[in-house]
Symmetry: C2
Subunit: 286 residues, 2 copies
């Protein structure tokens, strides 16, 4: 038997076993490239559920246990918790441990982690574009990352070998990988994710109760992401404050163009504005 | 054999055999309550396709043929064509013919048709809330209206018997039916359909090409309806000009609240705004 012992494969640590963390566990198991899948989180019930669903092999309330065992660690916790958690456990990690995260913002997280990280561990920011308005390991899927894009965000301080390890990690889960600087990431995501969330939430939030019954698929699609957890999204918005405000101003400018065309009953202008949107939407595919 | 001859059942005329008209045909056939399904439209290719898909039994380029044969006629044409088409054929209709439509706006259509309709036919406005960004009979489905809501818009001039006939018609296609005045309809739909479309289009329209690859499900859901046909939607927006501008101003107000909370880094305020949206969206269901 030449097959290596299970423990020869890298141990994967997953901090936060919700939709993303749970799916990372399932996809890592499917890949066959990891040894034990070690989960950690504050909520024993959620850890037990993730374990029963096969997302992790063991769950710990104590991050230290995970830190001492894992070769690769992914933080799948809310963006406002990642920095403190990474720094709190980095000292206990084995030399050469790769730490990354799945947070929806990158500039602030990467800057603060890089400032405080001890030299014997490696960090690179990541963001798999595979979220959902759903939360919890019960929605985790082994194919959540298949054909999706994960953005990794190296900086001038990131060794090429660390980039490669991160790329191999996400690729092993089924994802494609792109590279952006943390700042480029946040500028892009302000437009592609944070502004849509803000808009969906604004639109849902102003719908009077008596009109609920007159909504159909269009309203439901347009506002779907508004069902996301406010406690997760408020910190994302605040991490990306400036870029998100800028994106919102761009949107407001376009809304004013629509309003002006409407006021003037300018059908060609309205049609052009609608055609602009259709062209982009058709490009994106279903 | 006591079963009535097929011709004893009412002949259904469908003007415009796209997604909605085609689905009306399929649902009417499924109901077993109609005799011949007579389609009409300007495009011979689309009529032939609708016929081959079973949406209609015969297709005519000439609205007059349909007018002379049908007992019930539904106009599924763009909102800026319905009035002229109804008026152009009403004189040729049989006495007691029920005419309705499936247009996304009602006040202007109903007022103009009521002003010009001859006395021997009946008209009531309808709007089945079952549209889609897709167009064409190839997407038609016999169950498109099942459990969906159709709003009928009687006025003080609408006989109760006409309301009942319209309600029976849409119910026979699988739809639930609600009643609103044409003006109430337009105010409601400005908020539940036309504003979401405007927003989706605005958001899609400002996405730079280089960010297309960084979109994921959230952006796609939020902008899905922007793929609708500009030539259909510009007239809808213009029919509902005032109500839509008012809805857009309400949305802009909420966007400013978000922007202020962001600028002030006011996390409780942001969380409240997001929670407002989540509450409504959770209420609507998937």
């Amino acid at each position: 038997m030449t097959k290596p012992h299970k423990d020869a494969k890298p141990v994967l640590g997953i901090v936060g076993v919700g939709l993303i963390g749970g799916s990372i566990g399932l996809a890592a198991r499917r890949s066959g490239k990891f040894g034990d899948l070690v989960g950690a989180g504050r909520n024993p019930g959620k850890l037990a559920k993730a374990k029963s669903l096969g997302c992790i092999d063991e769950g710990h309330g104590d991050l230290g246990v995970l830190a001492r065992r894992a070769d690769v660690i992914v933080f799948c916790t809310p963006v406002d918790q990642i920095v403190a958690q990474v720094i709190s456990i980095a000292g206990q990690c084995k030399p050469g441990t790769l730490i990354t995260d799945a947070g929806s913002t990158k500039a602030l997280i990467v800057a603060e982690v890089e400032e405080h990280l001890p030299e014997h561990v490696e960090f690179i920011g990541s963001h798999p574009l595979a979220g959902s308005e759903k939360t919890g390991a019960e929605y985790a899927r082994s194919d959540l990352f298949d054909k999706r894009l994960t953005i990794i965000t190296p900086t001038e301080r990131t060794p090429a070998a660390v980039e490669r390890r991160a790329e191999e990690f996400w690729t092993s889960l089924g994802s494609r990988v792109a590279r952006l600087s943390p700042e480029e990431h946040d500028r892009a995501l302000a437009m592609t994710s944070h502004l849509p969330h803000l808009l969906a939430s604004a639109l849902a939030g102003i719908l009077p109760k008596e009109l609920h019954e007159f909504t159909a698929n269009g309203f439901r699609d347009t506002t779907r992401v508004a069902a996301g957890e406010p406690a997760l999204w408020a910190p994302i918005f605040l991490h990306n404050q400036i870029e998100l405000i800028e994106a919102a101003l761009g949107l407001q400018h376009r809304l004013i163009e629509f309003t002006e065309a409407l006021l003037a009953a300018n059908e060609p202008a309205l049609t052009r504005l609608l055609a602009d949107g259709k062209k982009v939407r058709d490009d994106l595919g279903s």
